[in-house]
């Protein structure tokens, strides 16, 4: 802690003049880890594939695939490691322990999980631990990206060591004062206690402890855990239920002016002219009307026409009143059907099967999907002559800051980016699109821009999960599956965020301006190969991704390639089992490569009463999955009495995350994964018409509501038996997805092929492209 800017804000505020500064800087014990790299590799490589050992039938064993050895989470753990010493954990004189977390809390519960690690190792009550997102900190390099289900994985090898070392330092200082040995002392609830009854709070020890050299301390043995592994309420739960939690648009930034905007009538469309600027500028409360032109570094800025006003109500009215002539976008005339045709044509042909083989083939389509987080795209940006300040929910704040600095022609050191907890993200906030726009408007108006997208544009005009076509062939020879081939053509995934800073982002964007840059292609293939695997021994097993250069706005999505790829494989697995006249669960137990996958399947088969009698029109379905070092299985019950409107009525899920931190959060992520599966398999898909989605809100895009979520959901968390910690944000989607699709097939006799499966009501009340709906109840 050599630089004043490294001090936590409260210390600076207390500090006052220069003279006091050296005292103030020692007021807090701020802990930086010396060398996490040595510990970071512990556990890596432990989780290697163990091929099935005993089997009654001869099975063509698949060699372990890339993901068994190295997955995208490992890459994020490794990329994060070198700058972990810059992450700040401090103990205040009030005894509060504060972590400046270089990640975005978006509901996934990482702040609570990290706080539990700290409370566990430091023996402080959870209520004394504060975790907030750090501002963008460019010196963290690759260590400020939230994604890939990697956050808890990145911190599990590091944070307990930091916390244990901080505790050791506080205890050592107390021991020094009392002329005792540290081993004589114990800690209870943030109080160091001597055998003779003397005691001192962490808060009273922190200044002195900061003068001691770094001790080396070992984290606790898991057998001593009291907090880790126990059901723990979210840190911010009380703020949420009382309405006090502040999201981006709730930030008390004085004079931040409400701004809404209109976006083109097609994705990547253009503004040709605004035909009534003067009229709209004269409307009540309107401050300015700004045309946002193309531009932007790393990724292109979205274009449109913004209206700044005194209130959002007036900004919305004025935005609706704008008369704008729009120009076509890059996908004029495109529809779902034309996109699928382009993708189908791009998929290379499947291999011809050997003579005498039985083949199971299928072609699958996945409609584009929208992240539709409850909090729409938004940002507050204050651009001054020589500085800028940003408030937004950012999964990649460093590159957002760097790109904004470049857009504004400011040095990076003149830009501050505050990372605000977001109302969901699901991958959407890997890019900083609203920041680009708000920065432009702030600079153009000389005011602080508080930009909010309308929900309709949030769905139609922002980034999508890429639509996909899968072609699959499984080959059975002499009673055994000998090969499995899956070719996936998808609209290219924009990965130009790189690892969250400009070096890797610029590589991803190279050559500049290309919609499918070579760099982006490399990232996309890397992410695919390190995320998507197969849990089965299917002999020669391949999944090949062909990104197709259609100029859509895309971005990662929870399990972006994995959920479709693995859903398809689970469907084909059921079809193979049926062709071989073997029960789907028995078949999986025979063909699963890894014992932990078999264990979760056995759990759900029992708890979910696999094979029980079902009424006519109902069926059970099963799915198994492995992702991010987690193993999951799911059995659902589906009501398909109306095959066009199926409904999941029960779900039994087992999950093995190696080392469970917060069972409450794990169960919540499984619920979220189940809802994603219900959405993407049954109900929710976008309809592209003339280069833009029709859907304008949740009444068109059928994200599940209360009535769609089964009343009977059981989540079984496998105990900690010493396996490496797994990711949790994404692994919960694919097993339920497979289970629902397979239940649909068993209940209806229809092969699930085109997703979403349920009939989609025609949309008749959508506002015309390029327009916003009127406020209030839809007619």
């Amino acid at each position: 802690m050599n630089d004043p800017k490294d001090l936590p804000m409260e210390a600076l505020n207390e500090g006052g003049d220069e003279q006091n500064f050296s005292l103030q800087r020692r007021k807090l014990l701020t802990y930086a880890l010396s060398s996490p790299v040595l510990t970071i590799v512990a556990g890596f490589g432990v989780n290697l594939a163990i091929p099935a050992t005993a089997s009654a039938t001869p099975i063509a064993l698949s060699p372990p695939d890339t993901v068994d050895y190295y997955d995208v989470g490992d890459s994020l753990v490794q990329f994060s490691a070198p700058t972990m010493p810059l992450v700040k954990l401090s103990v205040g004189t009030d005894g509060k322990v504060t972590l400046e977390m270089p990640r975005l809390e978006q509901g996934q519960g990482i702040a609570t999980a990290l706080a539990m690690m700290i409370a566990e190792e430091m023996d402080v009550p959870l209520s004394d631990v504060i975790v907030h997102s750090a501002d963008a900190q460019p010196d963290l390099m690759y260590n400020q990206l939230t994604g890939g289900s990697s956050s808890v994985r990145c911190f599990d090898p590091v944070l307990p060591v930091m916390a244990a070392s901080a505790r050791a330092r506080l205890v050592a200082y107390a021991a020094q004062q009392w002329l005792l040995s540290p081993s004589d002392l114990r800690v209870e609830a943030g109080v160091v206690i001597a055998p003779d009854g003397r005691s001192a709070t962490y808060g009273s020890l922190t200044i002195g402890a900061a003068t001691l050299p770094l001790p080396s301390a070992q984290p606790k043995d898991p057998s001593q855990y009291k907090i880790i592994g126990a059901f723990t309420r979210r840190l911010d739960a009380r703020d949420i239920v009382t309405g006090r939690k502040k999201f981006t648009l709730d930030q008390p930034v004085a004079n931040a002016m409400p701004t809404m905007w209109r976006m083109p009538s097609q994705i990547r469309g253009t503004v040709v002219s605004v035909n009534n600027t003067a009229t709209v500028k004269a409307m009540p409360g309107v401050i300015d009307v700004i045309v946002v032109p193309p531009g932007g570094n790393i990724v292109p800025r979205q274009v449109g026409v913004a209206v700044m006003a005194e209130t959002f109500g007036q900004a919305w009215d004025a935005a609706r009143a704008l008369d704008i002539t729009w120009g076509d976008g890059s996908n004029a005339g495109q529809t779902n059907a034309s996109i699928f045709a382009a993708l189908r044509a791009a998929n290379p042909p499947l291999l011809a099967p050997p003579l005498g083989a039985l083949t199971i083939d299928g072609e699958f389509t996945f409609a584009p999907a929208t992240h539709c987080p409850m909090e729409v795209e938004c940002a507050i940006v204050d651009v001054r002559a020589d500085s800028a300040e940003i408030w937004a929910g950012l999964q990649t704040p460093i590159v957002a800051l760097q790109a904004t600095a470049a857009d504004l022609g400011l040095p990076e050191s003149a830009v501050t980016a505050h990372v605000i907890p977001s109302g969901g993200a699901f991958g959407r906030r890997l890019f900083w699109d609203p920041v680009q726009v708000a920065a432009y408007v702030s600079k153009a108006t000389g005011r602080i821009c508080k930009l909010m997208y309308h929900r309709s544009d949030d769905i139609r005009q922002t980034r999508l999960r890429p639509p996909q076509v899968h072609n699959v062939r499984a080959t059975i020879l002499l009673g055994s599956v000998v090969s499995y081939e899956q070719h996936i053509a998808a609209v290219r995934l924009d990965a130009r965020h790189g690892y969250g800073e400009k070096g890797t982002a610029t590589t991803g964007a190279f050559p500049e301006g290309m919609p499918q840059a070579f760099g982006n292609m490399n990232y996309e293939q890397f992410f695919f190969k390190t995320m998507v695997s197969s849990p089965y021994n299917y002999g020669t097993s391949t999944k090949l991704l062909t990104p197709v250069t259609l100029d859509w706005n895309t971005v990662s999505y929870r399990s972006v390639h994995i959920q479709p790829a693995r859903t398809v494989e689970e469907i084909i697995t059921d079809e193979i089992a049926q062709a071989m006249h073997i029960d789907p669960v028995a078949f999986r137990l025979q063909y699963l490569r890894l014992p932990r996958a078999r264990a979760v399947l056995e759990q759900v088969a029992t708890a979910g009463q696999w094979g029980k009698a079902m009424p006519a029109g109902f069926a059970q379905g099963v799915g198994v999955h492995m992702e991010s070092r987690a193993f999951t299985a799911c059995i659902v019950e589906l009501d398909a009495t109306d095959p066009a409107h199926c409904k999941v009525t029960r779900a039994t899920i087992a999950i093995d995350v190696g080392k469970p931190i917060n069972p409450s959060g794990i169960e919540q992520q499984c619920h979220g994964g189940l809802a994603e599966a219900i959405a993407l398999v049954l109900n929710a898909g976008l309809h592209i018409q003339n280069g833009e989605a029709i859907e304008a809100s949740y009444h068109h895009y059928h994200w599940p509501r209360m009535k769609d979520f089964p009343k009977n959901v059981q989540v079984i968390i496998m105990p900690n038996v010493g396996d490496p910690i797994a990711g949790m944000g994404e692994p919960g989607m694919s097993a339920p997805s497979g289970a629902i699709a397979n239940a649909y097939a068993r209940a209806t006799g229809i092969k699930p092929r085109n997703f979403p499966l349920n009939a989609q009501d025609p949309i008749t009340d959508a506002p015309p492209p390029g327009q916003l709906p009127p406020p209030g109840t839809l007619a």
């Binding site: 509901g107 723990t232 309420r233 739960a237 949420i240 999201f247 209130t311 909010m452 209030g776």
Partner: protein, 153 residues
């Protein structure tokens, strides 16, 4: 612009606003209450649910002129000092929220449901709640409503 007076969380307030301005923007932009959230603006997602004379409404789709002289309760006015409303407490006991963005609306919808059903909500009553939760806290919301129903005075 006209002046509109109403009771907000037990206190009398008067605002100067166009009569057709949505209550949501009066609350957020003029009165600084940020518990009710914008999610759609067209009475679809229900994230802005508040109580008007004790009944659930969506503030995005209620004009300020329709509020004059009435009682508005937002999430900020639900607790009694530090004592949470039984619905809020049930939300804490079962650790319902994930991101939290929709939860103010969810809680207000639940308060309204308990009032309408005299604290005996059926599963069908709960199914009829249309508030969207993108994180999918629905399972815990259902259980929390049932728990709160047993704790209502």
């Amino acid at each position: 612009m006209s002046k509109y007076s109403f009771t907000l969380n037990g206190a009398a307030v008067t605002v100067d606003a166009p009569g057709d301005m949505a209550l949501l923007w009066v609350l957020r932009d003029k009165l600084g209450l940020t518990g009710p959230k914008y999610g759609c603006g067209i009475n679809v997602c229900k994230a802005c649910t508040c109580l008007l004379n004790g009944k659930a409404i969506t503030a995005c789709s209620t004009k300020i002129s329709a509020v004059a002289g009435k009682k508005v309760t937002t999430i900020e006015g639900l607790a009694n000092g530090d004592t949470l409303h039984p619905v809020q407490q049930a939300w804490l006991d079962l650790d319902v929220p994930q991101c939290g963005f929709c939860q103010c609306g969810q809680i207000m919808a639940a308060v309204d449901l308990l009032a309408r059903t005299h604290n005996k909500p059926t599963d069908a009553d709960i199914d009829a709640i249309e508030n969207v939760c993108r994180c999918a806290t629905y399972g815990r919301i259902r259980n929390a409503i049932k728990l709160a129903a047993t704790k209502m005075p």
